[in-house]
């Protein structure tokens, strides 16, 4: 650290009084996580502010060639600080760092620079990382807490999966969304209050499945469109111009690989680093244990979905990662790395032949893992089409949607040749 930008440490004293602001990415997952934190001595709040002015603030305070997620996240923070809603002397910001080789690990530095420029240099920023980067004494996640957060992610993925499989077919508009909201609330409550046993978690899976099964749905078969990409623009409606809603309005079913895969990918990279380069061997042992533990949980869920419902489960991660063979090495670990390629292949394997690959304009890893892998995937799987969509503050919706429409028109033509070209 130089003298130009100072680092304000989030201390133990701050923990009680400060409100921790968390940027939006996956509304359901993050809501549950936030509530867990709040029952455990923190005051966390997910930012819900949106709108074009957020991009503008981002553009104003962050180098414009920086990736779009950084612009949005930082813009969203600054907008919140400017809003007057918070006691600026009692607020901290939380941002993730993976420690990987792409720009994303620098969002934190960019945020601090932006805060300094905007006159907020006294506001502490907390790095949420699991690789021993910056340390915040006031923000320590205990093992039980981490386990609950893991459940939150798994539940979030389940809700996302069910919502996507229901909303395009529901007979009563909005019913599945309503159910998802109710469950988010219930799960938040359940996970934030005291100890939750795993059998209770599994019981809840079944309840959720049953509840969604009760949504009245049409029997038609719709085109399924997968979304992969840079994690933020893939998931965040603010980052991708409400891509999911657009696709649903185009009468297709959205298939979205979950957040858990990304976590597992991060864990697995430690194991790969040891295999390839002989690095941090001790950590790798821990990572192996963790990997097995989480994959086990994922498999339990998959089994429960299969046995208790008609819904299509997610793909188990230990299978997903084998799919890259012949395409890309597991050593390619910057950004979404090989996971991005793997998720495209996972979708193809599930019979999802139309894929939107979403990334910020100029996203370096996606040149390789996304755009660079489309050719071999398409060559080896007939009928698969993948469209790469770039997101940035200047990109217009009309251009993005026109390209997606082209893919959809194709898909519809392939489905019913009599109806060529209908959009």
């Amino acid at each position: 650290m130089s003298q130009r930008v100072k680092r304000v440490v989030f201390t133990k004293e701050m923990k009680k009084e400060y409100t921790i602001l968390v940027p939006t990415m996956l509304p359901m997952h993050f809501e549950i996580i936030c509530r867990i934190l709040n029952k455990n001595g923190y005051k966390a709040e997910i930012l819900k502010n949106s709108g074009d002015h957020i991009k503008k603030l981002g553009l104003q305070y962050v180098h414009n060639d920086t990736c779009y997620p950084a612009l949005i996240v930082i813009g969203q923070f600054l907008d919140a600080l400017n809003s007057g809603k918070y006691d600026l002397k009692k607020v901290a910001l939380l941002i993730t760092q993976t420690g990987g080789g792409c720009r994303a690990s620098n969002y934190l530095s960019l945020l601090r620079k932006a805060l300094a420029k905007a006159g907020y240099d006294y506001i502490p920023v907390i790095s949420l990382n699991f690789v021993g980067m910056e340390d915040s004494p006031g923000f320590k996640l205990t093992l039980p807490l981490l386990q609950k957060m893991l459940y939150a992610v798994i539940f979030g993925d389940l809700l996302m999966l069910l919502l996507n499989q229901c909303r395009s077919y529901e007979k009563v508009a909005g019913e599945s969304r309503k159910k998802a909201d109710i469950w988010t609330e219930r799960l938040a409550k359940m996970l934030s209050e005291g100890f939750v046993s795993y059998s209770e978690v599994k019981k809840t899976y079944v309840e959720i499945l049953k509840d969604f099964e009760s949504v009245e749905r049409t029997k038609e078969e719709k085109i399924r469109v997968g979304i992969v990409g840079e994690i933020f623009v893939k998931f965040s409606p603010l980052g991708n111009n409400n891509l999911e809603d657009f696709l649903v309005s185009e009468d297709v079913e959205v298939v979205m690989p979950g957040l858990l895969d990304f976590l597992l990918y991060c864990v697995y990279n430690t194991i790969v680093d040891t295999k390839l380069y002989g690095l941090h061997k001790l950590k790798a042992v821990g990572a192996s244990v963790l990997d097995k533990y989480i994959v086990g949980k994922q498999k339990d869920l998959i089994e429960i979905i299969k046995q208790n419902s008609s819904f299509r489960p997610m793909t188990a991660f230990d299978h997903t990662r084998t799919l890259t063979k012949g395409y890309i090495g597991l050593g390619a670990k910057m950004g979404e790395g090989w996971l991005l390629t793997a998720e495209m292949l996972e979708l193809v394997e599930q019979g999802v032949n139309n894929i939107v690959c979403a990334q910020p304009f100029g996203c370096l890893p996606n040149h390789i893992m996304g755009k660079g892998m489309m050719k071999p995937i398409k060559e080896r799987h007939e009928g698969v089409s993948i469209v790469a969509i770039d997101y940035d503050p200047g990109a217009t919706r009309i251009n993005q949607e026109n390209r997606i429409k082209l893919m959809l028109a194709n898909a519809k033509a392939a489905k019913s040749p009599a109806n060529v070209g209908a959009v």
């Binding site: 130089s2 130009r4 553009l59 104003q60 305070y61 180098h63 414009n64 060639d65 920086t66 990736c67 760092q97 420690g99 080789g101 792409c102 720009r103 690990s105 620098n106 530095s109 601090r112 620079k113 905007a118 390839l276 380069y277 002989g278 690095l279 395409y327 090495g329 390619a332 910057m334 950004g335 304009f361 370096l364 040149h367 390789i368 893992m369 755009k371 660079g372 892998m373 489309m374 050719k375 398409k378 007939e382 089409s385 790469a388 770039d390 940035d392 503050p393 200047g394 990109a395 217009t396 919706r397 009309i398 026109n402 082209l406 028109a409 194709n410 060529v420 070209g421 209908a422 959009v423």
Partner: protein, 990 residues
């Protein structure tokens, strides 16, 4: 057009296809399988009205119920509102092809703002242009405007071309910055026109086909491809198509509307024509709500006050017909316009001129000089003449001007005339935006616009024309717009589509005009200056440049800043005015300017040639003037200038030194190896080639290095580039691979290196994702890989033991168990480390020598800091030579970075190559004789972070920060101005 279109319902219906693209509306009416009406016209963004107007015209044919479908990017909204069937345009095209030319394998279609390639045979696939969209119809329009030609004239000229200049094809803005200097340097319009077409072809093939070969029967569609003969030829040549395989159908421009008609034919919906017209009319009258910005002026009073205030900033004028005495001439030969100012000894303006240079500034200056001499009669004697701007050298040589002056200096001179305390100058010209911060009466920092921040004057102008207005009229319309459109601030291509979107929502010309002005201003403030608030720019701001004649732009700027600024009445002439002031202060007794008599016999011809001085092979333009004098432009170093007296003073230049090291490395090829292994000389290999070469030679391989990059090498691999926005160094790798395959190596080696060498004291030591994993992409996209083995193992170069194990496995797997023992590999790896250490030691030593040399000879030192691969002649474009020519001792980042203690930074310091740059910045701060110029590859995502940090380090140390963004472009004009400004700033204040 007499073609038979097989429809199913031809007896009972009239079938119509409507195609509304970004700039034109195309409609066909079919009756009994024949076209009975067709039209292709510009809609000037009045989408609904135009459609309605055409529909009314078709009434005469509609004696049966009408079936109709709409297509085209601008038609979507209309179709949606009217409930009329819509068909995506690529699909419509496919319909036409299927019905009329079934054995077509590929369709190439260029529209106004779209470019598409559709593959029919062997796996149908369509490609549309992504976010970077150079090489579309609008682009051709823009280029024609730039050359002051109509599209037709440009087309005719292109047919006579003798040579093709490289013109960057990916980005319209880059292309412009290639073309403008060519024109200024006197390249023939024929050649430039053909070069533009070549760029369009290039863009389509490289950018869209992306690795898929275009072969078989190819059909060309869309407006530009049906009008432009030269473009047709360029495509046919580039694709090597025989006559039977190149189809230019007479319905080229109507293909989409025909397809829409064929689609409509299958629909059940039919309309009565009057009913249809009514539906469209109702839609035309609906204005949907959209987000807008506050108006520029609330009322007339505000406007009047504004006009009155700005009328105050003017230079004195003096009637030339009444003045007797001395005069001083200043000329600003800019990229699009030429400006002249003649002042008297009281700094009053005697004569002024401002106009587009119409692609030939020499002719304009000549005519103006004739005019000035005749106005001077014998009363006025010109005591001095100075020229500035892009065309400085050319004009200076042509007319024997006394002196040239760097643009930035000229502008500062003029600005301080109007406001001696000026602390910020913003100049928005036709092609570029320049901003200077002034501190202690010296230029403190300079910011120029880059490709993605390109909204300048000519952009508004071209836009105005495309909407059917003259610029002045267009600007005035914006002044009182009620609800200006919010257009964002990125690249002009994006802006085009933002406008499209706004039009879809019913925005009028007024709102678009005002919105464009605002977006140009925002672009300047937030993207070029990168300011966070108005206060950062200071209180004394002078704005200038032709674009500020536009009151809408001026007002938008004041509104965005929140306070008033000075716009001199001669805003567009400031460069020329500053040049005149400058030469006046020189106090010359006599001017060397060409005499009135010599001027009468003045002539000028320009000829193209290629320099053979070195491997750069610069494309030269040789200007010959009537008196036998020559001026050569286009050369990157003095070798091509034809003036031997100027040949290099042999200043140390680390970039050149390193290139020589690579030449020696390549020359030293052991030819007796058991197998040949190829190393592509790009990206990380620019540092690690000696390392791998030593290892493989020790193992008994012959090591073949692909050689330096070049344009030719680039085009070899261009077909296989899947991501057009990747950096140029990465894209060159495709050519390196092709070259190695041609050399028939047994294997190619470019490992995946997540981690680079750990040079300690940093947070991490990654490579960037592109350097680390580009092999993965190469393997999946280069078809030539089938002809060789490609080895791209994941390796750890920080750990000799691991490396040995992995390499041993790799070699045994690929070349047999008995190829070598692990002991051999261990020995080889150790040889690799020695070679690498020796290599780096040599660079450090030369760096030290260069710095010592500079200190002993009082030379300035420039750290030309980028990544190791920036020394490649095709990537660095000879910028190092230019700096050397300007008198700098040039050192590279890797030769200096270890000369200081590690720099503390505010970002995650995790990339080896970039860590070096931070250290270099610190070195520059600590040493007054050292400047840092950062080379940045366009599209380098990491540099968004590193440039800001490097700037912060330098500015904290009160040093100038200069950044040069490089891509395919090869013209050094802009770079030169930047370096000269740096030089000027150092000399004038520090």
């Amino acid at each position: 057009m007499n073609i038979n279109i097989p429809l199913t319902n031809n007896k009972d219906y009239i079938v119509m296809g409507v195609d509304i693209g970004s700039t034109t509306a195309k409609i066909v009416v079919l009756k009994d399988n024949k076209i009975v009406y067709e039209t292709y016209e510009r809609h000037f963004s009045q989408v609904r009205q135009k459609t309605l107007e055409i529909l009314e015209r078709t009434k005469a044919f509609a004696d049966r119920p009408v079936k109709l479908a709409i297509s085209g990017s601008a038609g979507l909204g209309l179709a949606r509102e009217c409930g009329i069937p819509f068909v995506q345009e690529v699909f419509a095209t496919a319909e036409t092809v299927k019905a009329l030319e079934e054995d077509t394998s590929v369709v190439i279609e260029l529209g106004g703002e779209d470019a598409k390639v559709i593959f029919f045979k062997g796996g149908a696939d369509e490609r549309m242009n992504g976010s970077c969209a150079g090489g579309t119809g609008a682009f051709i329009d823009q280029m024609a405007t730039l050359m002051d030609l109509s599209v037709d004239e440009m087309d005719i000229l292109s047919l006579e071309a003798k040579k093709i200049y490289p013109v960057a094809s990916r980005c319209g803005v880059f292309a412009k910055s290639d073309i403008q200097p060519l024109l200024n340097q006197g390249a023939s319009k024929s050649d430039v026109a053909a070069s533009i077409y070549a760029a369009v072809v290039n863009q389509t093939i490289a950018g869209l086909a992306q690795g898929r070969k275009i072969e078989g029967k190819v059909m060309f569609l869309g407006g530009p491809l049906s009008f432009c003969k030269g473009l047709q030829i360029a495509f046919v040549d580039a694709l090597h198509l025989g006559e039977e395989n190149a189809i230019f159908p007479e319905y080229a421009k109507l293909a989409v509307s025909l397809g829409a008609a064929i689609y409509a034919d299958k629909e059940n919906k039919a309309y009565d024509i009057d009913e249809l017209i009514k539906i469209v009319r109702d839609a035309a009258n609906v204005k949907s709500p959209r987000a807008s910005l506050p108006p520029l002026f609330e009322n007339q009073e505000e406007y009047d006050e504004f006009v009155k205030r700005h009328a105050k900033a003017y230079a004195g004028f003096c009637d030339i017909s009444k003045y007797t005495g001395d005069a001083y001439l200043g000329v600003d030969c800019g990229s699009t316009t030429t400006k002249l100012v003649l002042i008297n000894s009281n700094n009053e303006i005697l004569y002024e001129y401002y106009d587009s240079n119409k692609g030939n500034p020499v002719e304009i200056v000549k005519n103006q000089l004739v005019k000035i001499y005749s106005l001077c009669e014998n009363r006025i004697s010109i005591k001095g003449s100075a020229v500035t701007g892009y065309g400085e050298e050319l004009i200076k040589h042509a007319f024997d001007f006394d002196t040239g002056i760097v643009e930035t200096m000229a502008h500062y001179r003029a600005a301080s005339f109007f406001d001696p305390d000026v602390n910020f100058i913003l100049d928005i010209g036709g092609q570029d935006i320049k901003c200077f911060k002034i501190r202690n009466h010296a230029i403190d920092s300079i910011m120029l616009n880059e490709a993605c921040s390109s909204g300048c004057g000519s952009f508004i102008e071209t836009f105005a024309k495309s909407m059917g207005y003259e610029i002045a009229e267009f600007a005035n319309k914006g002044l009182f717009a009620k609800a200006p459109v919010d257009l964002g601030s990125r690249c002009t291509v994006f802006m085009n589509s933002s406008v499209k979107e706004a039009q879809k929502d019913g925005a009028g010309v007024e709102d678009i005009s005002a919105g464009l002005s605002m977006s140009i201003v925002k672009n300047a403030i937030y993207k070029v200056i990168r300011a966070n608030s108005a206060s950062e720019l200071g209180q004394n701001i002078v704005v200038q440049g032709g674009t500020f004649y536009n009151n809408a732009v001026l007002r938008a700027f004041e509104k965005e800043l929140g306070h008033n600024v000075t716009r001199p009445k001669i805003a567009g002439l400031m460069g020329a005015f500053g040049a005149a002031l400058y030469v006046k202060e020189m106090g010359l007794s006599k001017s060397s300017l060409i005499s009135e008599i010599d001027l009468a016999s003045f002539s000028h011809t320009a000829k193209a040639a290629t320099c053979k001085g070195c491997t750069n092979n610069c494309r030269l333009t040789i200007n010959t003037f009537g008196n036998g004098k020559r001026y050569i432009s286009g050369n990157k170093c003095e070798k091509g200038s034809g003036e031997t007296s100027l040949v290099s003073k042999d200043l140390p230049n680390l970039h050149e030194f390193k290139r020589e090291m690579f030449e020696a490395l390549m020359a030293n090829e052991k030819k007796d190896g058991k197998l040949k292994i190829g190393l592509p000389l790009g990206l990380g290999m620019y540092e690690l080639a000696p390392f791998w070469k030593a290892i493989f030679e020790e193992l008994g391989f012959t090591v073949v290095i692909s050689g330096f990059g070049s344009r030719k090498l680039y085009s070899k691999g261009q077909y296989s580039i899947p991501s057009d926005t990747a950096c140029y160094p990465a894209k060159l790798m495709h050519g390196h691979i092709e070259t190695l395959v041609e050399k028939q190596v047994d294997a190619i080696f470019y490992p995946c290196l997540t981690y680079n060498f750990d040079e300690k004291d940093t947070d991490n030591h990654y490579n960037c994702p592109v350097v680390a994993y580009y092999s993965e992409l190469l393997y999946s996209n280069s078809d030539c890989m089938k002809k060789t083995k490609f080895l791209y193992p994941y390796l750890n170069i920080n750990n000799p033991k691991e490396l040995t194990v992995e390499l041993d496995m790799l070699i045994k797997e690929n070349f047999g168990k008995d190829f070598c023992t692990q002991k051999d590999v261990r020995r080889a790896v150790s040889a690799g480390y020695s070679a690498y250490n020796e290599w780096m030691a040599k660079i450090y030593a030369e760096g030290k020598r260069a710095i010592e040399y500079a200190r002993q000879n009082c030379k300035k030192i420039m750290i030309l800091a980028g990544r190791p691969y920036h020394i490649d002649p095709e990537i660095g474009h000879g910028i190092d030579k230019l700096a050397s020519q300007l008198g700098f001792v040039v050192v590279s980042e890797d030769s200096v970075s270890m000369l200081t203690e590690p720099c503390s930074v505010d970002v995650l310091n995790q990339w080896t190559y970039h860590s070096r740059i931070y250290n270099c910045a610190k070195y520059a701060v600590l040493h007054p004789d050292t400047q840092l110029v950062q080379l940045v590859s366009f599209g380098c995502g990491l540099d968004a972070i590193t440039t800001d940090e490097t700037r912060a380090i330098l500015e904290e140390g009160k040093k100038l920060y200069t950044q040069i963004k490089i891509d395919e472009i090869t013209n050094l004009g802009a770079v030169k101005i930047r370096l000269l400004s740096l030089l000027g700033a150092i000399e004038s204040g520090r």
